[in-house]
Subunit: 199 residues, 2 copies
């Protein structure tokens, strides 16, 4: 019997995704569950659904999100500093990650980009974040960015975002196991249990 | 030192609120935390915030909500049948509950109304639900409804809804401890820990 893969659908502009980025590898490894990283762009998904970002269109929900995020980070013992920009422009970072996942350095790049944004105030989407995250992931920024911004790779990210819509995603992070959706960092454990066949 | 009260802000049309209604009394008692039931109307709150019901305006989120709700009910061992109507019209039920909380039977009425809606398919807001829930809570339906629909009681519910807006609420169920908001049935344990002074 094949053990199902835990698909981690993430958006670089998403706040709760940071918590999952910091947790998911160790948890998946401990559960013996294969893990697939799936960067996508949430805004085209929300546009397709005809809705906006709930944290910017609903001020009360936005305020609550920051309080809840900080409480969860503290409970999970994850260092966190509220970045100066929300939401960051995640387009280029997502394209780079999409390329990196084809080339074997996408997970390292993803973690470096999130860590810089949430620990060091180096905003995702800035040249400084992209370049230093690439270097930390062992890549030469200039040629890598050229490949990331080539049409074939742009199309690969568009296709992945279209797949997110097809799956029925509407937020990030989302975890998908055999087509079943678990939405939010606080559903990561439940998704892992499903993938591990324990529920 | 006074132990803070756990305020349970709920809306009769809210789906996840059913789970909290079934859980909160035993949990609060076990934690030794005073519990205050606060029915309010969510739609005026969302109107005030300029947003709609996310489960009806965002079809993907709505579909996910039902799947997640059923999974959570199963995990919590709470019997549940998806009602034929969503959202129900909760106005009269909320007015009755608001009155009942002044008169000592509001918690019993609330539980009866939710149980009928989620276990027996008797939709909240229908005469059948209101009347049979009142009888089960030991009240004579006709005179009680007359008091519930009197101007003073309507005003009491409006005031409570205004207080929800002031607190910064944007969804239900919400738990408030010393002004701090915990949103969603899946934050009930965290709110209880805060009220009990354990975190």
């Amino acid at each position: 019997m094949t053990r199902p893969t835990l698909e981690f659908w993430y958006e670089f502009g998403s706040t709760y995704t940071y918590l999952s980025v910091m947790r998911i590898e160790a948890l998946a490894e401990a559960a013996g569950v294969p893990l697939a990283w799936k960067p996508f762009l949430l805004m085209p998904v929300l546009d397709h659904l005809g809705v906006g970002n709930p944290f910017t269109t609903n001020t009360a929900k936005g305020a609550y999100m920051w309080a809840d995020l900080m409480r969860r980070a503290e409970a999970l013992d994850i260092p966190i500093e509220r970045p100066s920009v929300y939401p960051p422009n995640s387009l280029v970072t997502a394209r780079v990650a999409r390329l990196g996942l084809d080339e074997g350095w996408g997970v390292a790049f993803t973690k470096e980009a999130f860590r810089r944004h949430w620990m060091n105030g180096v905003i995702i989407g800035t040249d400084e974040n992209t370049q230093s995250s690439l270097i930390a992931a062992g890549q030469d920024p200039e040629p890598t960015l050229a490949r990331a911004l080539a049409e074939a790779n742009k199309e690969a990210l568009r296709a992945q975002t279209a797949q997110a819509i097809e799956l029925g995603l509407f937020g990030a992070p989302s975890f998908v196991v055999d087509g079943e959706i678990f939405w939010g960092d606080d559903r990561l454990e439940e998704a892992l249990q499903r993938a591990a066949g324990r529920r």
